[in-house]
Amino acid sequence: MSNTLTRRRFLKISAGTFGAAAAATQLPRVAQVIAADAPAAKGVTATPTFCEMCFWRCGGIAYVRDGRLWKFEGNPLDPQSRGRLCPRGTGAVGAYYDPDRLQRPLIRKGERGKERWQTASWDEALGYVAERMNRIKAQYGPESVAMFNHGIGVRFIQHVLKSWGAINFAGPSFAQCRGPRDVGFALTFGTGLGSPEPTDIANTDCLVLIGSHLGENMHNSQVQEFAQAVERRIPIIVVDPRFSVAASKAKYWLPIKPGTDMALVLAWCNVLVSEGRYDKAFVERYGKGFDKFVQEIRRYTPQWAEAETDIAAATIRATALEMAKASPAVIVHPGRRVNWYGDDAQRSRAIALLNALLGNWGRKGGLFSQAGIKVAGYPLPPYPESTKPLADNPNRERYPFADEAVTTGIRDATLTGKPYPIKGWFVYSSNILHALPNQAETLKAIDTLDLLVVIDTIPSEIAGYADVVLPEVTFLERYDELLAGWGRRGWLALRQPVMPAPHEQKPGWWIAKQLAGKLGIAQSMPFDDIEQYLRARVEKSGYDWDKLKREGIIMGPKQPITVEEGLELSFDTPSGKVEFYSDQLKEKGFDPVPKYTRHPSAPAGYFRLITGRAPVHTFSRTQSNPLLGDAMRENEIWVNGATAKTLGLANGQYVRLRNQDGVVSNRVRVKATQRIRPDTVYMVYGFGHTNPMLKSAYLKGASAAQLTTRYATDPLMGGTSIHGNFVTFVKED
């Protein structure tokens, strides 16, 4: 049975009765959170925690009624949710009650991927893992065990692995998501953007979204501010081959030809410079290499860009001037998941340069400087030193500007054995069979492994190939590392258990501690109970542990985050200035100013496949959630209405997609719509599950990941492209 130590005691500790407030208003009130109980709320307990349905980590309050998890709502004190969660957070109740949840540790019987399991005790499973890890260590060294991870829950498992000697850890969020953007901005301003990015949408006078589809892409606080921006009727400019929800609320929708966004951004820079509408004072004071930059972008006129992008030169000019008018309270949103074509770091750099021309760095209504909160550490033994280079990007030779580990680099090292063999993978809360491009390569790499351990809450596709599957509890059932949030103000958030584990699932910290014991490094986890660790950190930082347990959030000190508030700008670039021309790029053989390259077009009869998000799902991990799966059971392939007619496709008809490499997808429903360019097709990412243990999600919709067989790698930082595949339609008989 589950650990009774954690279950009952935590419920008792966390139980404060939160009841109905006297008068409800729209504004979050602390009073509502800790108001006295009203008779109607008998049998209800409320526990603050923070969400892990995505990585935004909004603070919420979980309500349990008569022992049953009732609902999860926003914590009014939380600076991200501001009292209102997104639909994934609201649907977290479904994650707890997901009938397809992993229940107990599993050890593979027979071939990998055949999904024949024997259930094991934790002791057996972790013993198996430790034994194989030690074998790898003896034969190859501890550096040969690598980890792929996503989410805050990996903290202690990663710590134990590091204590054991592992050095290769990578999250897909770098090379398969925001990495190119952070590198592009770091090359320009000296710093990446972090998560969430510091976009002051609440105060901006002009918002530009390039591919970002806020509203469908449900970054809670940004969507809230986006809605405010819509209400304030500020000009919004959306660049997207698809008429997204954001596009429908925009003043300008630029239905750009996919692959040509760089041309548009450079043309915008060109307009601002040639018409003298850029922030001259900012450039003068903080810019370096501006003249050389101007030289390079001279040829990128709106007229030239029109031919590339399908956007009228007059529109390019008008939208540039719209931005200039609002300067410095204007944001060209850096986006997320910007790894489209393989030159994405440079495209992000172009976006950074555009923001620089608009002078919005550190400005109200622009990109502010994030504030954090200082939280003391816990005394933990140091990690052993390794003499080996990191396997993904040894000595930063392969990807000179990658400042985080590259997942596909680790995969390559596994495949090639260079710079040294990688023989074991840990995968924590990341469905890398969907996240990494070209599934065939991932499967080939897995074939060479001596050990594959997957730690997750649901039986994802990667779990299907594991040697050992370790079931973690959902975030509602566990403590995790403290969240020290960055934003307009830093804050400290606590995650604490709300419900007991329904089966034998365990929290990450517990798994880590047990594993440490099995590996003979119990001293790496020198506390019996994670509450001990968390409380020590909180109290050492001068904060009130009981208050944190009760309210869930403690705000950090205010500090100036904009020039208007007294912020002093500084740039951590080699020159100490905003680098319009980058010498360090030149030295490494890259374009010092971004250049436009035309990307390959679709072959005849094929359409470029672009992908995006739905507000009720997170990647490929919520489709089996009963609430969220019911809200959106399957994705659809968006096809322009005229194109559909030409191809004889009816709205609602099921088809299969075949990509340029002959890979055929699962059946997917056609959405014939005016909302997309005739040459492009679109689907939401994360569907088409092939693990039959995900019963309600199995073979529902098509998998974008499966069709992403062709990819280009960004030479600057190892990012892998997702929009370089083309599909044609295969009709059913």
């Binding site: 209405g641 719509t673 005016q674 909302r675």
Partner: protein
């Protein structure tokens, strides 16, 4: 160009309404036949009271078969309910705005009425029962003796029969959400169709057993005999049978006219009603509407019966059967096409 999407996928409601399947068309049809039987039975009772029809064949046949059919109809209605254990709730109140409430109470009154009406000739028709329960014979005698009582029963049958025959049509016609039904002619249409179906039912019942066979005896045999051959092996008087055919011709003509009014009403009302008109006449229901209902169910039996009356062709049960098919088809069409019918979103805003 307008594209509309919804995330809603509620069972029986999306993609279109489908809450009523076979139970309701069956009940509507049976209810219509029963209504027709009651009205015709009432007329027969009047004639009996005036001494015009000593055998009074239909005066017993009608209420008895109506009683049987009504049970079938009520069963179908009960089976349709989604919250069966609470069916009694309908008799805790009377909701004047709800035709269904009206109908529920009418049905409550119809039952005893049919039983009493059947009682009048029952002992004659079911000797086995008459022997066992002499009280029935006495009661029957009392009823037969009083012309006034017979008159009352007759008019009650007619009035409640009309109520029964018309209320379901009114029920459907009050729903603005279903443009196909949303025509006040629907009530009278159902009533006339019910009269026609009732007449046809009587026809069919009368011809079920050939007159040569002797009347069955005993409990079971007697019961069945009472139903299908109530007053012995003799067929109804020719004059009565002819009157029935003439009446049916009249009913069919009126029904056809009312269908025409329904169509005119739909096509001249709103866009949603016009869309309902299309659904019925040119859409997926076109064959059922024109081919089965109008031609096979009304026009052909109309022509056949007219020819029968003109002695050009012999009497057969064929027109009656076709009328019954038509009657059921009308209900089936209305329930199914009606559930597909909805208020059409205006493309202009």
């Amino acid at each position: 160009m307008i594209e509309i999407t919804t995330t809603r996928h509620n069972p029986l409601v999306d993609p279109h309404l489908a809450v009523w399947s076979w139970e309701i068309p069956l009940y509507l049809f049976v209810g219509g036949v029963v209504a027709g039987l009651m009205i015709l039975g009432g007329v027969a009772l009047l004639r009996l009271a005036r001494g015009e029809d000593p055998r009074g064949y239909f005066s017993l046949h009608a209420p008895l078969s109506a009683f049987m059919l009504l049970n079938l109809g009520m069963l179908a209605l009960f089976l349709d309910l989604a919250h069966k254990l609470y069916v009694w709730a309908v008799y805790l109140t009377f909701e004047p705005a709800s035709p269904m409430s009206w109908g529920s109470w009418v049905l409550l009154l119809v039952y005893p009425l049919l039983l009493v009406s059947a009682l009048i000739r029952l002992p004659e028709a079911w000797p086995w029962l008459a022997q066992r329960v002499p009280a029935l014979v006495r009661a029957s005698d009392v009823l037969l003796a009083s012309a006034k009582t017979l008159h009352l029963l007759a008019w009650l049958n007619v009035v409640l029969g009309v109520a029964l025959g018309i209320y379901t049509g009114i029920l459907l016609s009050t729903m603005v959400a279903r443009p196909l039904w949303n025509q006040s002619i629907l009530g009278p249409l159902f009533l006339v169709s019910g009269l026609s179906a009732g007449a046809a039912a009587l026809h069919v019942l009368a011809s079920l057993l050939p007159p040569q066979r002797p009347a069955p005896q005993g409990l079971i045999g007697g019961a069945i005999g009472a139903l299908v051959q109530p007053l012995g092996p003799q067929p109804p008087e020719k004059a009565t049978a002819d009157a029935l055919v003439r009446a049916d011709v009249g009913f069919l003509v009126v029904e056809l006219l009312m269908l025409g009014l329904l169509l005119i009403g739909l096509v001249t009302a709103t866009a949603s009603h016009a869309a309902a008109f299309d659904l019925l006449t040119t859409g997926r229901y076109a064959f059922a509407f024109w081919g089965v209902l109008v031609v096979l169910g009304i026009c052909v039996p109309l022509a056949l019966q007219a020819l029968e009356l003109a002695h050009r062709i012999p009497h057969t049960v064929v027109p009656a059967v076709l009328v019954l098919v038509g009657g059921f088809t009308l209900r089936w069409l209305m329930v199914n096409a009606g559930q597909m019918s909805q208020i059409v979103q205006s493309a202009a805003r």
